[in-house]
């Protein structure tokens, strides 16, 4: 399984795999850090790559590949406001889109971590029932202090 091959074989993603966290916009990158021991397999700006083909879809932002012993785990990252409960419904819609899109690609075969990072101040904490519901659907919520890979 080579991430580069699988990205290039995915419609509209060919040639979009960037080194390290290179696909992330600077403001979004500030929410993602990595341990010195973490080796990155590259990143893709999914939102940008699929905009021409799916302009009105609730597209997910990015993914980042991380080497884990003999495999690569894909971290699907959405940097999105968390300032009101309305944001939860938006992320739910994006997640629904992600699942449906992902299963049409070879990327579905990778172990994964689906993460929503709050882009600013949070209006809810980890005990919020909607955050629990998202977790039970496979989504990890992170405050703007972010995700460490």
């Amino acid at each position: 399984m080579r991430l580069l091959d699988d990205v290039n074989a995915t419609p509209y993603l060919a040639g979009t795999l960037c080194r390290g966290l290179g696909a992330l916009k600077a403001t979004d990158k500030s929410h993602v850090s990595k341990k010195s021991s973490t080796k990155l397999a590259g990143s893709v700006d999914v939102d940008k790559a699929l905009e021409p083909s799916q302009p009105n879809a609730h597209r997910w932002d990015y993914f980042v590949g991380v080497y884990e012993e003999d495999r690569i785990r894909i971290h699907w990252i959405e940097v999105h406001p968390a300032s009101s409960t309305g944001n939860i419904a938006q992320v739910e819609a994006k997640m629904s889109w992600l699942v449906n899109w992902m299963k049409t690609t070879a990327l579905v075969n990778y172990p994964r971590n689906i993460v929503w990072i709050a882009s600013g101040k949070s209006s809810f904490n980890s005990r919020h029932p909607s955050i629990r519901k998202l977790a039970s659907h496979g989504l990890t919520y992170k405050s703007s202090s972010g995700l460490e890979l």
Binding site: A118, F124, N125, S126, A135
Partner: protein
């Protein structure tokens, strides 16, 4: 007192607390929260405490170590060490000198409901001050004796103590009935001339030992609240300004905790300054909401929505005042430092603030664990998890 600073007292290296109308202390066991709250009481009511000890034959010979063993409890003289320091509003207190001399006795200004309050009602009746061992903490003895005085003076006859028409607003009584007492009423009952508190219903009378854990914990708290909210037009009891409640959540279901928190707001709107220690995220959720409402123009209706209670006129009036009150939260770290985490910002770079002094750590990890397993399951990959929601 607006500020209390403790340095090198017991396990506390430094705690510099600026009090709000509501001040909440959080932190792991044995991090110094209870000791700090007992210092608040001691510094406010020194003369009264000394007099009470003298009256009941507790002789500490003007010695600070002996006083500490009597006040904080057996073996607690060790909390005062070389380099120990107490400041009130920035002014250094000579604790040895203060304890060595009888201070002027004034009316009680600080009412402390200790974590061990269930011990105040052995056999279902308040135990007097002298009923305790000399090594038992003063705050437990004083609270217990206060309940005894309340029962002697204000509940002399038989009959219901709860619900009782002139005690607490009807809204609170209804909520307590639903969340704590169920179909029972709290009443005084005599067995061979010995009075005791019972929970009574048509089915009979239940003595203290068969009450639920939450009921046993709550009844001493209820009696304390009766003391603080007298059945007259005066809103406060005598000269009392401060109310300290340790771990109000003990034994209670979250709905009952909500009711008790409403009563805490009632205390605040009556002009009491309230200090709490807690291990309950629900208490911090109240502070989080209160501070947000205060800073962003929230009103009484918003606050009552938080509690999910009806918007009656008395509750609206109470909530209208409560949303203007200032809260503070301090986290007592295991390393002995107390930190101001009032913002309770879930996005804070500071892990202890983001996890509310560790109270949210487990819930965050539970979410992450569940999400990780679900997102890697076959049901996720096929989209079946979302099938019913599209």
């Amino acid at each position: 007192m607006n500020r209390l600073t403790l340095k090198n007292v017991a396990q506390i290296k430094e705690a510099d607390l600026k009090f709000g109308d509501l001040t909440v202390l959080v932190g792991p066991q044995a991090s110094g929260k209870s000791i700090t709250l007992q210092w608040v009481k001691l510094l406010q009511d020194t003369g009264l405490i000394q007099k009470q000890m003298h009256t009941y034959g507790l002789d500490y010979d003007g010695s600070l170590p002996e006083f500490l063993d009597v006040y904080f409890g057996e073996g607690m003289r060790s909390i005062w060490q070389d380099g120990s320091e107490v400041k009130v509003d920035g002014k250094l207190i000579d604790v040895g000198k203060r304890i060595g001399r009888q201070q002027v006795e004034k009316s009680e200004t600080t009412f402390l409901m200790p974590a061990q309050r269930v011990l105040a009602l052995p056999e279902g009746w308040p135990k007097p001050f002298q009923g305790y061992r000399a090594g038992d903490p003063y705050t437990v003895r004083a609270f217990s004796d206060g309940l005894r005085i309340l029962m002697d003076r204000e509940f002399t006859g038989a009959g219901a103590l709860f619900p009782k028409q002139n005690r607490l607003k009807k809204d609170y009584r209804d909520l307590l009935q639903q969340t704590v007492f169920g179909g029972f009423e709290l009443a005084t009952h005599k067995v061979q001339s010995q009075k005791r508190l019972v929970l009574s219903s048509e089915g009979g009378k239940l003595p203290f030992m068969v009450w639920s854990a939450g009921q046993r914990e709550f009844v001493p708290l209820l009696l304390g609240l009766y003391w603080l909210m007298p059945p007259s037009k005066t809103t406060r009891r005598n000269e009392i300004e401060w109310v300290i409640i340790e771990e109000l959540e003990m034994g209670l279901h979250p709905r009952a905790i909500s009711t008790v928190l409403l009563l805490v707001l009632e205390l605040m709107t009556r002009g009491y300054r309230v200090c709490l220690s807690t291990h309950s995220p629900q208490v911090l959720e109240l502070v989080w909401a209160l501070e947000t409402l205060r800073k962003h123009g929230g009103d009484a209706n918003d606050l009552l929505d938080l509690f999910g209670v009806k918007h009656s006129s008395p509750l609206r009036q109470m909530a209208g005042e409560a949303v203007r009150k200032v809260s503070k939260v301090y986290y007592f770290e295991p390393n002995g430092i107390a930190r101001d985490i009032t913002e309770l910002d879930p996005s804070s770079e500071e892990a202890q603030e983001a996890t509310w002094g560790g109270l949210l750590e487990f819930s965050a990890r539970a979410n992450e664990t569940v999400a990780k397993v679900v997102s890697n399951s076959p049901e996720f990959a096929t989209g079946d998890l979302f099938a019913g929601e599209r």
